[in-house]
């Protein structure tokens, strides 16, 4: 893994400034820097474009409103009226993942969503939050979530463990989906970029053309994964309200 031109080298974390707090290493790294850029881009864009608060929006304001309506629609479609409370959270999650992925598409820029620890932390927040929400809404009855009605009784010993495992694997599937997509995409780009350099003159054009096409696909995936993350969060919130 330590090879100089390994396609995985781009995921290595380099500390920019070493910070230690209570014996823990909390260095500000290139990953943290990417997060900072992401947060700045989102907050500045959403603040400055809506600054005039004009009724007839400028093009940039329209983009902000479009994003707002996109997530608001998503949440109302999946959760309904109950979902309004969680709009800021789902919107932040979507924007954070989306812009994080997009920032990662800039050459030489770090992609923090390609780190399992980051995506898992986000997914864990969603999972724990939704589970707490389920208990708040339904109390002990929340466990009936694992009980599927209308199934022959002798199937329950089999189905209940499956339901429990599927529920518990939610944060893993949610985080691994995003992490693996980002990892695979960026690795592939790097591999083909290596071909461009290593191939003899002229023939390097072909992998270069492939990279161009793949970059388009990666941008699509960047959006798609953010969307999937948001919509699954919405569905989990819905589950916490409506057990089966």
């Amino acid at each position: 893994m330590a090879a100089k031109d390994s396609p995985l080298k781009q995921f290595e974390i380099d500390p920019i400034s070493n910070i230690e707090l209570g014996g823990y290493n909390i260095s500000f790294t290139n990953s943290s820097f990417a997060m900072l850029i992401t947060v700045l881009v989102i907050t500045l864009f959403l603040t400055l474009t809506v600054n005039t608060r004009s009724i007839i929006p400028s093009r940039m304001q329209l983009i902000s409103e479009l994003m707002y309506n996109f997530i608001a629609q998503l949440l109302s479609d999946t959760v309904g009226d109950n979902g309004k409370k969680y709009f800021p959270f789902v919107f932040s999650l979507f924007m954070f993942v989306l812009i994080g992925n997009m920032v990662g598409m800039i050459p030489y820029q770090f992609t923090f969503t390609s780190h399992i620890i980051v995506t898992f932390a986000l997914a864990a927040v969603v999972f724990i939050g939704v589970t707490i929400l389920g208990f708040i809404n339904h109390g002990i009855k929340f466990f009936t979530f694992f009980y599927i009605p209308g199934v022959p009784f002798y199937m329950h010993p089999l189905l209940i463990p499956i339901e429990v495992i599927s529920y518990l694997s939610r944060p893993i599937s949610l985080s691994v989906r995003l992490f693996a997509n980002m990892l695979a995409g960026h690795t592939l780009l790097k591999v083909f970029a290596g071909f461009v350099v290593s191939m003899p003159f002229f023939t390097g054009v072909f992998p270069l053309a492939f990279i161009v096409a793949l970059t388009g696909l990666e941008i699509l995936i960047a959006f798609l994964q953010a969307y999937v993350f948001a919509i699954l969060t919405c569905l989990y919130i819905n589950d916490a309200y409506h057990l089966h």
């Binding site: 995985l8 260095s27 809506v50 707002y68 924007m95």
Partner: protein, 163 residues
């Protein structure tokens, strides 16, 4: 794979928590309410304009109805006036015609009377002329000088026998 190297796990989690919390709080408290206000303002404006348009439409309909009513009323009034005028004119014409007829009749009868009178007068003259001519002729032929009275007596005597 660098992702599985736990060296920077704590750092990653720490900065993720810091930045994501900041982002969440900022969007929740600042950005999203702003966008929501704009959207709400726009919706209100649209609703306002729609209701205003509806109101104006209703008003226009009312005015149209009023105009139509007035047009119909005016038509009825004018029809009646035309009828009245025609009737009055007809009456006037017939009365004038009858008075003209009367005038004419009177004039005709007057003229007839005048004619009769003048006829009588002429007849008398003719008679006189005839009698004087006859008197002269008799005087010339028979050399008899008749007085008027005698002559008239003769004529009166033989008047009916020549017819």
């Amino acid at each position: 794979m660098p992702q599985l190297n736990p060296e920077f796990f704590v750092s990653q989690l720490f900065w993720l928590a810091v930045f994501f919390t900041f982002l969440f709080v900022f969007l929740w408290r600042v950005s999203l309410p702003r966008i929501a206000t704009v959207l709400e303002k726009r919706q209100n404006k649209i609703d306002e304009n729609l209701s205003l348009a509806k109101e104006l439409q209703e008003k226009a309909k009312e005015i149209e109805k009023k105009i139509n009513d007035q047009i119909n009323k005016a038509k009825l009034e004018s029809d009646e006036k035309i009828k009245k005028t025609i009737n009055a004119l007809q009456e006037d014409i017939s009365s004038q015609l009858s008075s003209l007829d009367k005038d004419l009749e009177k004039k005709v009868s007057d003229a007839e009377r005048e004619i009769l009178k003048s006829k009588d007068h002429q007849m008398k003259n003719i008679n006189n002329e005839i009698s004087s001519i006859t008197k002269l002729t008799i005087g010339k032929i028979a050399d008899i000088e008749l007085s008027d009275n005698e002559f008239n007596n003769v004529i009166e005597t033989y008047k009916g026998s020549f017819n």
